[in-house]
């Protein structure tokens, strides 16, 4: 099982979503992708897409206006 961190801090929507989709393609089922974001709109689009695609998603608030979206590839 692999864990990868994707730094998307400072990137506006939809850049984190597209980057996460690309990163997830390289991972195997069960692998974890942690996407760091600070754009609140990506907080909606990214988990929404990942859940629709059938992955397990958790959101952690790291700091004011900063989140980690943890995606477990299924």
């Amino acid at each position: 099982m692999q864990e990868r961190v994707l730094d998307c801090l400072g990137e506006p929507c939809p850049v984190p979503l597209v980057k996460a989709q690309r990163a997830l393609e390289d991972l195997e089922a069960g692998d974890i992708l942690i996407v760091q974001i600070d754009h609140s709109c990506a907080m909606k689009s990214l988990p929404e897409w990942a859940r629709d695609a059938g992955h397990n998603v958790e959101i952690e608030e790291i700091d004011n206006g900063e989140w980690e979206v943890v995606i477990e590839k299924s």
Binding site: L9, G10, P14, V15, K19, N64
Partner: protein
């Protein structure tokens, strides 16, 4: 005393942070439907009060004119500002311009909403690409909103809300532009 006070504030903010109505109304993003309904109701209210449909970028253009005039320049001979109505708005000044005041309100409201959700963050510029994208995007939006006589609020949203065909035409090309822009973004900026 100071310690006791800060402990009290910490306790209060911790309790607030767990409150389900705080989370529902102030912390988490509202559903799209709630946002759409509120926007519709409030834009009718602002039209009733200000006398014109909701718009944003027209005032920003006037901010540019006021800035030039404050620096000693003149926009008198610019075609865009040559009409009597445009001149009248400029002569009344920024504090007598409901569109500018409403823009200030939008900025203040947006700031309030991120502060109350404790999501305020000053973001650092991290790459040259972000600067290029921001400057290019700003120039294109600024130019586009003037030649189209409105932005996605004034020309698109308000256009449709007052049953103008122009709003729908704007919408179709906005969608086409967004599709092309999205493809370019993925191709060149990622």
């Amino acid at each position: 005393m100071i310690d006791g006070e800060s402990r009290m504030w910490k306790k209060l903010s911790d309790a607030l942070g767990r409150n389900e109505y705080y989370l529902l109304w102030l912390k988490d993003a509202w559903p799209y439907l709630t946002g759409a309904l509120l926007l519709s109701i409030l834009q009718i209210a602002t039209m009733a009060v200000a006398g014109n449909p909701w718009g944003i970028s027209g005032a920003i253009t006037n901010w540019g004119a006021w800035t030039i005039e404050a620096l000693g320049g003149s926009v008198e001979h610019w075609y865009y500002f040559s009409s009597e109505s445009a001149r009248a708005v400029l002569d009344r000044g920024i504090l007598q311009d409901p569109v500018s005041i409403r823009n200030f309100g939008i900025i203040a409201g947006a700031l309030f909403s991120v502060l109350i959700a404790s999501s305020f963050k000053l973001k650092k510029i991290r790459t040259g690409k972000q600067v290029t994208a921001a400057v290019l995007g700003g120039l294109l939006m600024g130019y586009g909103m003037r030649v189209a006589l409105g932005c996605n609020i004034g020309a698109f949203y308000s256009g449709i809300s007052v049953l103008s065909l122009a709003g729908w035409v704007y919408g179709v090309f906005l969608l086409l532009g967004a599709i092309v822009g999205g493809k370019l973004l993925v191709r060149f900026f990622m």
